[in-house]
Amino acid sequence: MTKLEAVIQPAKLDAVKDALLEIGVEGMTVLEVRGHGRQKGHTEFYRGREYSVDLLPKVKIEIVLSDELVDKAVHAILEQARTGKIGDGKIFLSRVDEAIRIRNDERGVAAL
């Protein structure tokens, strides 16, 4: 099993979510987060005072996948979330040892 964490632009969430469901992803966890990569922040003005906002709102999707779905999922995200501009986000993949369904103690891929 592989855990996929993708940080994307909030505006791309719906498209990415639909694409993931399309390829057969069963469930996901979505978090509203703030952060920045190379994009850094932007400046805002309140009553003439300049504020630099360096942590921007992003959406983070977490999914644990059976290994054969990983490539498809990565592909779907790349396709939907890419604008080609700085700030599009990142995808991280890591190994997961075990998954347990709380309702009935199912283990492994069956619990996903």
Binding site: Y46, R47, G48, R49, E50
Partner: protein
């Protein structure tokens, strides 16, 4: 249409009853009937004025809560939203109680040139009977409650200067003393019987202040600056970012202020006639022009017109037109607003940064600066055509402002402005010193970091723990 019908019906009824009683009792003389008719006309006018003034009193209260509470509440950080709103709300309670006991009397009872006496303490003699010196057609009780709403909002305005760092107990004591020692004397000088600045009752230096440019905005704005200096900056200011936590709340608050201001300015006519209309129109035009003035200044300087700037500009325009509202026509109002919008932006964006004081929510930059420029411009644009308040012994209207040909008036305005500044500075300093000695002004540093909502009131504005979902 319905009103016309009702008037017609009333007229018919009057004619019928008059004819009826004439036929029955020929002894009732023409003079008696006229007298009765005159009384009825006076009663009708009194009712109309009273209805309008009660409405205006409610509108002015709306300016403090929710208007100012939302405006200021949105500008602070999330952890201080409740404590900031509470500072406005507390005035609605504390100043009201004080007003009933002595505040009204100190402001409006006959006294010397600087402060009223205790004749109306505990509202003695303040009932249905009008006080013709102030407003001949409405019960004095209406006048009293209307003026109370001004006394409430004035100290509430100051709270923008010490937001996010003053103890609630110190704030309450400070405001109570300020209301009696700064507001009441200033109101008496400008509006009270025998006040040295009173323009309509023959003061020594007749200062034109229709709705409170000196009494409300200069006193509160200048006191705000003194408070900001005395208390010192918030922890982390100006290095740490402290952007408004919700411009949305501020937006709603500012729009409510705009609406409530019609009660503030147009209501200051103290009657429902054409002077109220004129003040209403001037108020609206100045607010609009000032919103443009501020937003345009920002647009030129920073490349974008902000929402917070636009609403702040509108408030600055409302402040500046306050003393002038019952003395100027729509065109001078537009001009006053435009000037105020640009000037207050400059005060807030440039002068504040230059001197480095932490007037957290710009109470001085908007109310002190806007009030001062408005009071002075009143001396320029006030016109006898709008409001013939000055007249000679024969009752001929005399000119008011510079545009009217009265160059002397600007000097009177200046005297009024200087007295307001001095009273605000000295009074506020003394009260701060006293409160500082008795209970201390600032919350401890760790409480300031934690936020005043929790440390002063034991609450949070937005309770977002999972268990509350």
């Amino acid at each position: 249409m319905r009103v016309v019908m009702r008037k017609l019906g009333l007229g018919l009824l009057l004619v019928l009853t008059a004819g009826h009683s004439f036929a029955q009792t020929a002894t009732v003389s023409q003079a008696d009937r006229l007298l009765k008719l005159e009384q009825q006309v006076a009663d009708a006018k009194g009712s109309a004025d009273n209805a309008w003034m009660l409405m205006c009193a409610a509108l002015v209260l709306l300016m403090t809560g929710p208007g100012l509470a939302l405006f200021y509440g949105g500008l602070v950080r999330k952890k201080n939203v409740l404590s900031t709103m509470m500072q406005s709300f507390a005035m609605m309670a504390i100043v009201t109680a004080l007003w009933a006991m002595v505040g009204y009397s100190l402001a409006f009872a006959p006294g010397n040139g600087f402060i009223g006496g205790l004749q109306h303490a505990f509202l003695r003699g303040v009932g249905a009977q009008p006080d013709p010196d102030y407003a001949a057609t409405i019960p004095q009780q209406t006048f009293m409650i209307y003026q109370l709403m001004f006394a409430i909002i004035t100290p509430a305005l100051i709270s923008g200067a010490f937001a996010e760092r003053m103890k609630f107990s110190a704030m309450a004591l400070f405001m109570a003393l300020w209301s009696l020692m700064v507001y009441a004397p200033m109101a008496h000088m400008v509006w009270g019987k025998g006040g040295i600045l009173n323009a309509s009752l023959g003061g020594r230096f007749p200062t034109l202040d229709f709705a409170g440019g000196t009494v409300v905005h200069i006193t509160s704005g200048v006191s705000a600056l003194v408070c900001a200096q005395y208390l010192g900056r918030r922890l982390g200011y100006p290095k740490e970012m402290m952007p408004p936590h919700s411009v949305v709340l501020s937006f709603i608050g500012a729009c409510l202020l705009w609406v409530g201001w019609f009660g503030f300015n147009a209501g200051s006519a103290l009657s429902s006639g054409s002077l109220a209309t004129s003040a209403f129109v001037a108020t609206h035009f100045a607010a609009a022009a000032a919103a443009i003035g501020w937003a345009a200044s920002e647009w030129i300087r920073n490349g974008k017109p902000t929402v917070l700037g636009s609403i702040s500009g509108a408030v600055a325009g409302l402040v500046a037109i306050t003393p002038a509202s019952g003395f100027v026509g729509p065109m001078p109002a537009l001009l006053i607003g435009l000037v105020a919008g640009g000037f207050c932006y400059f005060m807030v964006a440039s002068v504040k940064a230059l001197f480095g004081y932490d007037d957290s929510l710009d109470a001085f930059g908007v109310h002190g600066a806007g009030g001062t420029i408005g009071a002075l411009l009143t001396g320029v644009f006030a016109s006898k055509i709008i409001n013939p308040i000055f007249h000679d012994a024969q009752g001929n209207a005399l000119s008011l402002g510079i545009m009217d040909g009265n160059f002397h008036q600007l000097l009177n305005q200046l005297v009024g402005v200087v007295i307001a500044w001095v009273l605000a500075i000295v009074g506020t300093l003394l009260i701060l010193k006293f409160v500082d000695t008795v209970i201390g002004l600032r919350v401890p540093a760790e409480h300031e970091v934690q936020g005043l909502d929790f440390t002063q009131h034991g609450e949070e504005g937005y309770y977002l723990e999972a268990s509350a979902l």
